[in-house]
């Protein structure tokens, strides 16, 4: 089963992918690690921030690890480099 999710890239990750957002087909149940690997395959330059980012799924932070994430059509996934607001 796959879902069409909207992937958002911010800060350095957006510079590396050269896109700010795109629709990507992903498994409906996937570990955050496998989700990241899938994005890396689309954008090999993201390897520059490997180990330095987290994801956000439906606007909730998710560490890149074995944790399973459930995804549905239209869900928002973001690549989140270290924050620097303030």
């Amino acid at each position: 089963m796959t879902a069409q999710v909207l992937v958002l890239y911010f800060a350095k990750s957006a510079e590396l992918t050269s896109v700010r957002e795109e629709v990507v087909a992903v498994p409906t149940s996937v570990s955050s690690q496998d989700l990241w690997t899938l994005l890396l395959q689309r954008h090999p330059r993201l390897s520059a921030v490997q180990g330095q980012v987290v994801l956000a799924v439906r606007q909730q932070y998710v560490d890149i690890c074995d944790q399973l994430v459930a995804l549905g059509d239209g869900d928002e996934v973001a690549v989140v480099p270290p924050l620097s607001g303030g």
């Binding site: 958002l8 911010f10 800060a11 330095q52 606007q59 932070y61 270290p82 924050l83 620097s84 607001g85």
Partner: protein
């Protein structure tokens, strides 16, 4: 004398008005307003002069993380009345304010403690990013030490 608590968050491409942030939290039940203003210092990094900052945000999530931050602050300091944050987006020249936060409470200790905590939490959890731009036209993305996945946190 009770008043609905206000949590006001605004991302703005314009100059920040401190008075507006203060007015957003003022209340006839509050004797104290604590304010924090963060600005960019004039700085040289490896011989390059910082001329300004370029900010971006995950806007919807920034709003939801702010709501979460306010709930946490109110749980810890129940007398906190209103909270307001204005944060810049886009280009911010050196010397201009990037963020202004105000918190009101009946007595001063609560708003003073709450604002210190809230600024740390903002830097740790609200999805906003800044890139330092130098006079050489080079730029580099900054990382808050407060953010748990920043390189300074990872080294710990």
């Amino acid at each position: 004398m009770s008043e609905e608590p206000r949590d006001v968050f605004k991302l703005s491409r314009d100059w920040l008005s401190v008075q507006e942030v203060v007015d957003a939290v003022s209340s006839s039940t509050c004797g104290a307003i604590s304010v924090f203003i963060g600005t960019t210092r004039e700085d040289e990094v490896e011989g390059r002069k910082v001329v300004g900052l370029e900010y971006e945000a995950y806007e919807l999530m920034a709003q939801s993380e702010f709501t979460r931050l306010c709930a946490e602050v109110r749980a810890r300091w129940p007398t906190v009345t209103h909270v307001c944050v204005h944060h810049r987006l886009g280009w911010v020249k050196v010397g201009e304010a990037s963020v202004a936060m105000a918190i009101s409470s009946p007595h001063r200790h609560d708003s003073q403690q709450a604002i210190q905590h809230s600024i740390s939490r903002l830097k740790a959890s609200i999805p906003i990013w800044k890139k330092e731009v130098y006079d050489t036209e080079e730029a580099s993305w900054k990382e808050n030490a407060e953010c748990s996945w920043s390189s300074s946190s990872r080294e710990k």
